[in-house]
């Protein structure tokens, strides 16, 4: 695993959501990037506010694994800082999910990053 991945995951393990940013220019990168736009490698990790919107979501209705009993949602969340990442939205009613709804980051009891309607 690259340092980029392990750094992000280490923050998550401490219940911190951080976003990668070019130290030189301040440009926020996506989680899939590994270099700054100018090819530089100096990346710093900045605490995210937790504010986000629901860029898209999918609801699994057919069981793929016993660890994930259906129905459940997988969310593609856009952080206020810019980067998008996969997570899930904690809602009682899946029918309440709406693209572009406002969300706030949280961590569940197991330390997994989740989002709740804001």
């Amino acid at each position: 695993m690259s340092d980029f991945d392990s750094t992000f995951l280490a923050f998550i393990a401490q219940r911190e959501l951080r976003v990668p940013r070019c130290a030189k220019t301040g440009d926020v990168l996506s989680y899939a990037a590994r270099l700054c736009p100018d090819g530089g490698t100096a990346i710093e990790w900045v605490k995210a506010s937790g504010a986000a919107t629901l860029y898209s979501f999918a609801v699994y209705r057919r069981q793929y694994s016993p660890d994930f009993p259906v129905p459940y949602n997988v969310a593609l969340v856009e952080l206020a800082e810019g980067p998008r990442l996969i997570s899930t939205v904690i809602v009682d009613d899946l029918a309440s999910l709406r693209v572009d709804m406002k969300l706030m980051a949280d961590f569940d009891d197991a330390g997994k990053l989740v989002f709740k309607p804001a």
């Binding site: 690259s2 989680y31 979501f57 996969i86």
Partner: protein
Amino acid sequence: MSGLSAVTGLGFSELSRQSIGSIRDLAVAAIRDAARDAGILLADIDGLLLNQSTLAPANALPLKIQEDLGLRDLRLLTALEAKGSSAIQMLQYATMAVRSGMAKTVACVFADTPLSPGKGGGQAFAVESPVTGIEGWEGQYGLFGATGSYALSARRYMHVYNATERHLGAVALSGRHWAERNPRAFLRTKLTMADYLASPYIVEPFRMLDCAYPINGAVAVILTGSDRAKDGPKPPVYIHGFGQGHLGTPSRAGFAPELSTGGVLAGKGAFEMAGIGAADVSMCQFYDAFSFSTLMALEDYGLCGPGEAGAFVLDGHTSPGGRLPVNTSGGHLSGYYLQGMTPISEAVIQARSDGGERQSDRNEIILVNGSGGRLEYHAALIMSPLPMLSKRRG
């Protein structure tokens, strides 16, 4: 502009939902069939390009297949990996090889056996899809399969353009109408919109009918220079243009990879090389692993404006009798899912006027595409039964 190369042979292994042999064995069968179809001996093949599914075990289709076929003195031999764009890419590199003179007669093959006892279609493709970019991240959330990652893209597209599930269903129905006329198609029973809407979701908004129908099998083509194409027993199918597009779109605010993909760039390359424009395309064979993929392809290749593909399909224009036949084999959804070889094989059949009950007279300029990953990797070809395409509007 005359054809850059020509497909002179098309071969199939047996296609089945049951176990019928290894990927390697099926590939050999398809190449033998393609050589027979081209009227050549296996010994005449001096180039070999191989592609297996990313999800198949590593080395399921090894270079050693050269020896299975008894091929000596190959001047081109490699395995390609470009996900769903691979098969189209094989034909592109084969074209470059024959045009450069590095090889004369190139066989390109894809083989897959996703189904085996105890491993059904859903499980075959139920691997976590990397979307975020952090290793292993999606494992915590159960984002299994391309079905899930494509569902995310489809939902975003549908939200932005007010598209509905009826638009997805229209694609499934269009393919099924063509499959009804294809003896090689696996799903041929009549389907109505009511049937589609009543069927259960797999990953909302996708139903089973929105997803490719996996089968075990292999397809191979033989490709030569266009000057040699008329030597064979079958009408040659000329390649007039080709292109690729891999945008590397960042997953962050300000970018919308769900609305416009590398198909635009692949199409630009293919159209410019062929000296045509989107308005000249008479038929499309699209990589439709999902119904949504067809909507994206119609827009990315300029056959429809942004957000308009759903209505276009719902109006019947891509179905039998429509003005732009699409996926006349039934495609991946109702025909057979052999990744990039599904659209290529049908383009060849239609260009040769071999389509029987499903033959369309709009086979003059066929756009054939491949796409893979989460609509990240794209390649396209322009194929035609005509050796020359007269200069057309751009």
